[in-house]
């Protein structure tokens, strides 16, 4: 948290994000722009989306997103347009691709593996405690019985 804050301050100066003059009058367009912005990374900040970043490049990207929307792009087309120019580094939500497969399926995969193991564990008949006596215990038992 501390480092996040330091970075925001050093690179992204104050905490200003979407500025009033950027906002589109078309409410539907603006809402789409906001939701797209939340998936795009400010390139010079640390882990901050362009919607809440004050860096110059974030502002440029916000304006660009709004221009593309006004041109009639769908949300995916806007993201593709920006990814083509700035690389996949701008996407805060990495695309599902073969190389990113492990990232995306790790949760369900481990849940499945863990689920199967747990299920089998509860089915296994565990040996009852002290079914067999150790040699020491047998000797001790014999002693007691002989007494």
């Amino acid at each position: 948290m501390i480092r996040l804050a330091l970075f925001i301050i050093f690179v992204c100066t104050a905490s200003w994000a979407v500025e009033p003059d950027e906002i589109l009058t078309n409410v539907e367009y603006e809402n789409r722009a906001r939701s797209i912005s939340k998936n795009l990374r400010c390139l010079v900040c640390r882990n901050e989306n362009i919607d809440s970043s004050n860096a110059g490049i974030a502002k440029d990207l916000r304006v660009l997103v709004r221009e593309r929307i006004k041109e009639g792009d769908t949300n995916e087309e806007v993201l593709d347009f920006i990814t083509d120019r700035y690389g996949e580094y701008v996407l805060l939500n990495p695309k599902i691709s073969f190389q990113n497969l492990l990232l995306w399926i790790s949760g369900p995969l481990f849940l499945l593996i863990g689920g199967v193991i747990s299920w089998r564990y509860t089915r296994v008949k565990h040996p009852e405690i002290s079914q067999k006596l150790s040699d020491d215990e047998k000797i001790r038992l014999k002693e007691i019985m002989d007494d």
Binding site: P20, D21, R41, E88, N93, L111, G114, H126
Partner: protein, 650 residues
């Protein structure tokens, strides 16, 4: 002089820790009582030495001794006293000293109050604890000496980063470290159990308080950090899925799993080796977290490569500790035989499901956090993994957890009939579904998240109440007899109820703020009036304020509801001249129903940029965390656990 005394004291503590890590362990192996007994005095002496060093450093900060490099770079003579003190741990070197202080403090606690622990177990636990101490004191002495002097002391210091000059952040690191390091105790107990080759109910009773303590302090620490981000960063975000946040969240998740599975070991003598593994994993994630925060490797591989000394050192500690512990586990886990039998539908299975979901969600957070690193090093691709990913990949597991929680909590041990055990929950279930449907129908076209989140939170909370009613057999025995049972419920039962209710309240706050927040961004002239979500805001004025070590523009904004004044908000734009850094202080008016949140921006040619939010039920996120922690405290003070500390084991 003071700094040199502190430095010397750490060096002696280092040597004491070396002795403490070797002698008692050998003594335990050979059965030498005297060698094992050495653990107690050395743990106490080690703590006193580190405490002395910490006090010396604190005095250097309070008296603004700028010949000490750390003080010169992180303090200033004009800084308020609280931040002179919190400045001690508001930097890398000092925070590592705090880390070691807490480690030694816990060791001393076991040494002083653990009279009833079996002597061999105690010797081994303190020895493992000292090994961790040796590693971290070496890290401090060789890479991060806080007592370094300057040949030419400056006239005044460079000041602490203004963002850290905040009451929320002053106490955020100590709580997190109490939690991180608390998991070192469960780790030490796990290693001792593996060496010994046995785990029993008594072991679980000794481990559980430490797991609880770690979890409680982590909860408070994380909540403080999130609350701070909420009011300080200027747009009211409260969780960012930043690597540094994830670093504290992963040990928290594992601690939750651990303190649940320890119950199974205690009550049913099963899941032993799994619990030991969780204890190892918990501290492993603490170490991974420390590595992530301290090396900067996730932020930038290049930053790490340019200044690798510290990062490599922690990486070595991490590999030795985790690798060593897991190897020991691989060799010895078989000796931890569990014998109890239980059916797939039982309390045991419910807790296994809890553990499974928590561990899998931890893995998701872990892989998401390190994925950019893996992608760059192995695939040669630069990519980002941020909040949108975690929201999609992590949330489903928490939803499943919340769905099964109330049911799992009322199932009996060993074997259960899900319909018989679950039937008292029908009331809670129908009410929660009704709440969800009602909200869904009221907010036509709104986000589906609100009805689902609110139904889940109602289900968890009502489920916890139902659990209490079942426990005191209110229905079968009548109110009077039920009340008597209610009074006699153990603190562990109450702790469970409070912790689960707290979780439900946090889910409630998160769902409400995410679904129903309204935002308004505008340039406003002084005197202008605007409306947000039923509230009327009047921008009255902007005043110039001079603080002790900053200057500030303070906006005065009145909020009206039904033309009645409900709040005067004072958002600030501060400027700290020493560090030449601006900060924002949001103006917030909180009550249980909503937060009014206003942040003041730059002066434009015609007016000031103002961001206004109405955040419904925001405060419940943190109230929920507090109630959760309180539940943990109740559970920790349960007679059974106190008994375990003061009674000799068989």
């Amino acid at each position: 002089m003071l700094a040199e005394l502190g430095h010397l004291s750490v060096i002696i503590a280092f040597m004491v820790a070396i002795v403490q890590s070797i002698i008692p362990m050998l003594g335990a192996a050979k059965g030498y009582i005297g060698w094992m007994d050495a653990a107690r005095p050395s743990a106490i002496i080690q703590f006193l030495l580190i405490l002395f060093a910490f006090i010396m450093l604190t005095i250097s900060f309070v008296t603004s001794d700028f010949s000490v490099k750390l003080v010169a770079s992180n303090s200033h003579s004009l800084k308020p006293l609280l931040y002179k003190i919190s400045g001690v741990w508001g930097n890398h070197e000092g925070s590592m000293l705090l880390w070691i202080l807490i480690l030694a403090f816990y060791g001393a606690l076991v040494a002083v109050f653990g009279n009833r622990l079996p002597i061999i177990l105690k010797a081994r636990v303190l020895s493992v604890q000292a090994m961790i101490g040796v590693a971290f004191i070496a890290f401090l002495l060789f890479t991060s000496n806080p007592f370094e002097r300057l040949n030419f002391p400056p006239f005044d210091g460079k000041d602490l980063n203004p963002l850290l000059q905040d009451p929320g952040l002053a106490f955020h690191p100590p709580f997190l470290y109490l939690g991180y390091v608390g998991l070192s105790m469960t780790f030490s107990f796990a290693i001792a159990a593996l060496i010994q080759g046995s785990v029993d109910a008594a072991w679980a009773r000794w481990v559980r308080p430490w797991a609880l303590l770690a979890w409680i302090t982590l909860t408070i620490g994380i909540a403080l950090g999130s609350w701070w981000a909420y009011y300080e960063l200027g747009w009211g975000g409260w969780w960012f899925w930043d690597p540094v946040e994830n670093a504290s969240f992963m040990p928290w998740l594992i601690a939750v799993a651990l303190l649940h599975s320890a119950i199974v070991v205690e009550k049913r003598e099963t899941l032993k080796s799994w619990t030991v593994l969780l204890a190892i994993l918990g501290f492993s994630f603490s170490l991974i977290g420390t590595f992530i925060v301290r090396s900067g490797v996730i932020t930038s591989v290049h930053a790490f490569a340019n200044d690798p000394e510290r990062g490599v050192f922690i990486l070595l500690i991490l590999i030795i500790a985790i690798g060593g512990a897991l190897s020991l586990y691989a060799f010895r886990a078989n000796s931890l035989r569990s014998s109890a039998v239980f059916s797939p539908i039982s309390r045991e299975s419910g807790l296994i499901l809890n553990n499974l979901l928590l561990v899998v969600s931890t893995i998701v957070v872990f892989i998401g956090t390190i994925w950019p690193l893996i992608a760059e090093l192995i695939l040669g691709r630069k990519l980002s993994v941020g909040a949108p990913f975690f929201e999609i990949a992590f949330t489903p597991f928490m939803v499943i957890l919340a769905i099964f929680l109330p049911l799992g909590a009322v199932l009996p041990w060993k074997r259960a009939n899900v319909f018989k055990a679950g039937s008292p929950l029908i009331g809670a279930l129908s009410l929660s579904v009704a709440i969800g449907l009602l909200i869904w129908s009221l907010q036509t076209g709104g986000r589906i998240l609100a009805p689902i989140g609110l139904a889940l939170s109602a289900w968890v909370i009502l489920g916890a109440f139902t659990d209490i009613l079942i426990r005191c057999r209110m229905i079968e025995n009548g109110i009077l007899a039920g009340m008597r049972r209610l009074i006699n419920l153990t603190r562990a039962d109450w702790g469970k109820a409070f912790a689960h209710i707290g979780l439900g309240l946090t889910i409630f706050g998160i769902s409400a703020i995410t679904a129903w927040e309204t935002e308004d961004i505008r340039v406003a002239k002084i005197g202008e009036t605007f409306e947000v979500s039923g509230y009327t805001f009047t921008f009255d004025n902007v005043n110039k304020i001079n603080g002790k070590n900053y200057s500030s523009d303070m906006g005065i904004i009145s909020a009206y509801f039904d033309s009645e004044l409900v709040a005067t908000l004072r958002p600030e734009k501060r400027f700290y001249p020493v560090q030449r850094m601006p900060t924002t202080e949001a103006g917030i008016n909180s009550n249980l129903k909503r937060d009014l949140y206003v942040a003041l921006g730059d002066f434009q040619d015609s007016g000031w940029t103002i961001r206004t939010y109405v955040k419904p039920f925001a405060v419940w996120i943190w109230i929920g965390c507090l109630i959760m922690s309180f539940g943990g405290l109740l559970s920790m003070s349960d007679r059974r656990l106190r008994f375990a500390l003061t009674t000799k084991s068989k």
